[in-house]
Symmetry: C2
Subunit: 457 residues, 2 copies
C-alpha cells in the first residue's frame, strides 16, 4: 500500500463518517440487526474460515492460550458475539444528546450537542469476535471505522469482513449506512501508513498487548484511546482496617493477575501495626513479594519474633530490583512491596511510578483518604476498594470500548461515550455580532441556561 | 537548554501540578489576589521594562500594529489586565465538580469528578498581558503552567515573571501554591525541547499566529488546544430570507475580518432568487469577491440586465483561484464565492474545505437547516446566525482559553472547563471484585444513578 492508498482509505472513511453522522439512531441500529442476521446465516462459512486459521496456528506452534483466543466457536463464543451486536444496537443513542442549552438572546439559542468523533482506526490482535464488537460500536456511535485484525485470524477476519460489507452494501438504499462505514485492512504496513493520516483519522483505538499499544503511541500524532501499562498500587495506611487490607490486597493481586487493573505495587505504612499480617496473607494466597531490603529485614524479624517464619514464606520473598520493580507490570502473582512513611509519601511514589490507571488507599482515616483522593493523578482513585473495579461493566457503562490512561478526552473505563465528542449549535433568526456590546452594538447577551435534559432538538 | 534541562522543567511542573491539584479553591484564588497586588505595586518597574521593549521594537522597525500590541500601558490595558486576574479568581471552581454519581452496591459509590489536566505548556506571541491572564487561568484550574512569551516582549515578560514568582515564593507557606506552579522560558529552543516531553506535559496551548500553531502541531505528540486556520463558510440556501442573508454575510465578513470566526467562503444556491443582491450588498460594504467563472458570468449578466453594473462593482470582482481560494483564510475584506446546487452539496464542500471551526446556513426551510446542522463536521454549526458568535464571551464562558478546532477534548470556544479533565473516585468499605458476578462471586451490581448536582464530596 502506498501513502496514497492509505490516504484513499482514510478519505473514504471520512466521507462515510460524514454520512453516518447524519443518520438516525434507528437507521444505525437497523443495519446492526441486519449484520447480526447475516453473520448468523453465514455461520458455516465463518466456521470453515476459522478452522483454517486454527490449522495454521497449530502448524506454526502457536501457544494453546493464543489458539484458544483464536477459536471463535469454543463454547458459546459465536452466539455471545452475535448477542453483543444486538445489545449494542439496543443501547441508548450516544449521538445528539443536548448537554448544554443556553439562551444567548431572544431568538438566539446555543446548544452543546454530542456528535460522533468521525473516523476511528481500531487495531486488535488475535480474537476474531472483536471485529463484530468494533463494527457495532463504530456504527452505533456514528463513526466510520478502519479495522485491522491480527494476522493469526486473517481467514476468519476476511470471511466476516466480506459478510459485513456485503450486508452494508445490500442495505445502503434502505438504511443509508454507506459502504466505507467499515473498512478492513490486513497488513502492518497499512497500519503504519494510516498512522500518518492525522488530518483524516480522529482517534486510534488499540486493543491488544502493551507492546502493541506502546508501539502505536510512539508512531502517531493521532490521539490514542487506550493504555499500555496498567501499574496499579494499593497503599495500606497507618489507620487501615486489617480485614479490608487483607481482602483488598489479595483481590487486587490475585483475582485476575493478567488484568490491567491488577495491583502491581503494595505500599505499606510501617506504623500500621498489622502490616506483616497483610504480607503473610498474600503469600498464603500464592503471591511472591518483591520486597525492598528494609521491608524484608523488618518482615523476617517480625516473623522470627513470633516463630511464624516458614520455608514457604521464605520461598515467596525475593529482593526487589528497586530500579525496575516499582515501574513494572508483572501480569503474574508477583507484587513489589515497599514502606512509605505517610499518605503524602504514598502519593509522591504513585504519581512518580504509576501508569495513571487506578490506585487505592486502605484506611479508616477520612482526612488521609481525602488527601489521597485529591492527590493521586490517575484515572481511578479509590478508598477501601479493590483496583479490580476499574472496568466498564462494573462501572455500569453497558459496553466497554477500552480503558484509557490518557489525561484528556476519556479516562479510565470508556463506554460508548468515549466515541463521541460534541458540537455547538446556534439557532438564530438572522442575528449578527455587530448588534452586541463589544462588536459595535448596544445589545447585551442574556446567557440564561435552560434544563438541557428537557431539550429535544 | 539541553534535553535534560527541558526534562527538569517539565518534571518540576509535574510536581507542582500534583501539589496544586490538592489545594482548595480558596488557596488558588488567594494567590491570584496576591499576584494582582504585587503586579500593581510594581507598576513602575514593569512600565520601565515595557518601555525598553518598545524602544527595541522601534529600533528594529517593528510595524505600528505590533508595537501597539506590545505596549502594555496603552489606554487602560494594564488596569484591565489586573482586573482580569481577580475576575478569574472569582470564577466558580472548575475542579472537584461531581459529574456522575452512581451507587454500584451498598457502601460502594462511583463518582466522576473534574480534576486539573496537570501540566500546560502555553506559548504566546507579542502581547505581554497574556502572561497575567495565563497565570490566572492555570492556577485557578489547578494546573502547572510553563509559559513562553514572544521575544519582542522579553523585558516586560522577565519583569512580570519575576514579580509573579517572588509573590508565589513569598506566600507558599500560607497558600500552599508551590514555586514551580508557573515557570517562564525564553527561547525557541526551550519550546522545541519541551514539545518532546509528552510524558510530562499534558496539553499545549498556543496563542498566536496560524504559523505558530501549525508549527507546534507539526512538532509534538502532546495534544494541542487551539486552531491554526479559521476557514468559516456561510451557505445561502434556496429558501433564505434576503434580509437575513444580507445582514449575516456582511457581519460575518466585515465585523472583524482578522478574526478566526470571520467568513472566508460564501456558498450560494443559485435557485435563491436574490443571490445577486447579497453579493452587491457585500461589495457596497467594501468586500472584494473572489468568484468562480460561473458566479462571475451569472452575476455580471444579472447586473447588466437591470442596468446596475458599476465600475465600483467591477473593481470588487476578481477571479477565484479555485485550487487555493476555497482553502484560504483571507483575514481581510476578501471572500471566495461559489455556487452549490443544494444543502447536501454545501455540506460536502464545507466538510472538505473548512477548518472545522464554524459554519452557518441561512434558510427559512427547517428540513434543510436540520440537514445542515447534522451534516457539518465543525465545532460550531449555525442556522441563521453570523459565524462571529463563535467566541467564549458570547457563549457566556466567562473567560476564553482559546478556540479549538481539534475534534476531541474541547471544541470551539473553550472556557476554564477546557483546562480540566476528570477522574473516577470509588468510595467503598473493603469491597472486592471477587464477590461479584463475572469475577467469581454471586453479587450483582446495583448501578443506581444519583443526582450528581446535589452531591458534595
Amino acid at each position: 500500500m502506498t501513502m496514497s492508498a492509505a490516504y484513499e482509505i482514510a478519505k473514504n472513511a471520512r466521507r462515510a463518517g460524514n454520512t453516518l453522522k447524519t443518520l438516525s439512531n434507528e437507521s444505525r441500529s437497523a443495519i446492526l440487526y441486519k449484520i447480526h442476521d447475516s453473520l448468523k446465516a453465514h455461520k458455516d462459512a465463518i466456521k470453515a474460515a476459522n478452522e483454517k486459521d486454527l490449522e495454521a496456528a497449530a502448524a506454526s506452534g502457536l501457544s494453546s492460550a493464543l489458539t484458544k483466543r483464536l477459536n471463535l466457536f469454543q463454547g458459546d463464543k459465536f452466539d455471545t458475539m452475535l448477542q453483543g451486536i444486538t445489545d449494542v444496537a439496543d443501547l441508548e443513542d450516544p449521538v445528539g444528546k443536548v448537554r448544554l442549552a443556553r439562551e444567548l438572546d431572544d431568538d438566539l439559542m446555543l446548544y452543546q450537542v454530542t456528535a460522533p468523533v468521525g473516523v476511528l482506526l481500531v487495531i486488535f490482535e488475535s480474537r476474531p469476535e472483536v471485529i463484530a464488537n468494533i463494527t457495532a460500536l463504530c456504527i452505533k456511535s456514528g463513526n466510520a471505522g478502519i479495522l485491522k485484525g491480527g494476522k493469526e485470524s486473517v481467514n476468519t477476519f476476511r470471511e466476516m469482513a466480506s459478510v459485513i460489507n456485503e450486508t452494508i452494501a445490500a442495505n445502503e438504499s434502505t438504511t443509508g449506512v454507506p459502504v466505507g462505514a467499515v473498512q478492513l485492512i490486513e497488513t502492518r504496513q497499512d497500519v503504519s501508513d494510516l498512522l500518518d493520516q492525522d488530518e483524516m483519522i480522529d482517534l486510534v483505538v488499540p486493543r491488544g498487548s502493551n507492546a502493541l499499544v506502546r508501539n502505536i503511541k510512539n508512531n502517531t500524532k493521532i490521539p490514542v484511546l487506550g493504555h499500555a501499562d496498567g501499574i496499579c498500587s494499593v497503599y495500606v495506611d497507618e489507620f487501615a482496617d486489617l480485614t479490608k487490607a487483607k481482602r483488598i490486597s489479595v483481590d487486587a493481586k490475585t483475582n485476575y493477575p493478567a488484568g490491567c487493573n491488577a495491583m502491581e505495587t503494595l505500599l505499606l505504612n510501617p506504623r500500621f501495626g498489622h502490616w506483616a499480617d497483610v504480607l503473610t496473607n498474600m503469600i498464603a494466597n500464592g503471591v511472591t513479594l518483591h520486597t525492598t531490603a528494609e521491608v524484608k529485614k523488618e518482615y523476617l524479624a517480625a516473623l522470627e519474633a513470633t516463630g511464624a517464619l516458614t520455608d514457604d514464606i521464605k520461598a515467596h520473598i525475593v529482593d526487589a530490583n528497586e530500579a525496575e520493580d516499582f515501574d513494572k507490570e508483572f501480569l503474574s502473582l508477583d507484587c513489589a512491596v515497599k514502606f512509605v512513611s505517610n499518605t503524602q509519601a504514598a502519593i509522591l511514589h504513585i504519581n512518580e511510578h504509576s501508569s495513571r490507571h487506578t490506585d487505592s488507599i486502605i484506611t479508616e482515616d477520612k482526612a488521609n483518604a481525602e488527601q489521597f483522593l485529591r492527590g493521586i493523578d490517575s484515572a481511578g482513585v479509590y478508598w477501601n476498594a479493590s483496583t479490580r473495579f476499574a472496568d466498564g461493566f462494573r462501572y455500569g457503562f453497558g459496553t466497554e470500548v477500552g480503558i484509557s490512561t490518557s489525561k484528556i478526552h476519556a479516562r479510565g473505563p470508556v463506554g460508548l461515550d468515549g466515541l463521541v465528542t460534541y458540537q455547538y449549535q446556534i439557532r438564530g433568526n438572522g442575528n449578527i455580532a455587530a448588534d452586541y456590546l463589544g462588536a459595535g452594538g448596544n445589545r447585551a447577551f442574556v446567557h440564561k441556561d435552560l434544563d438541557a435534559s428537557k431539550v429535544v432538538l
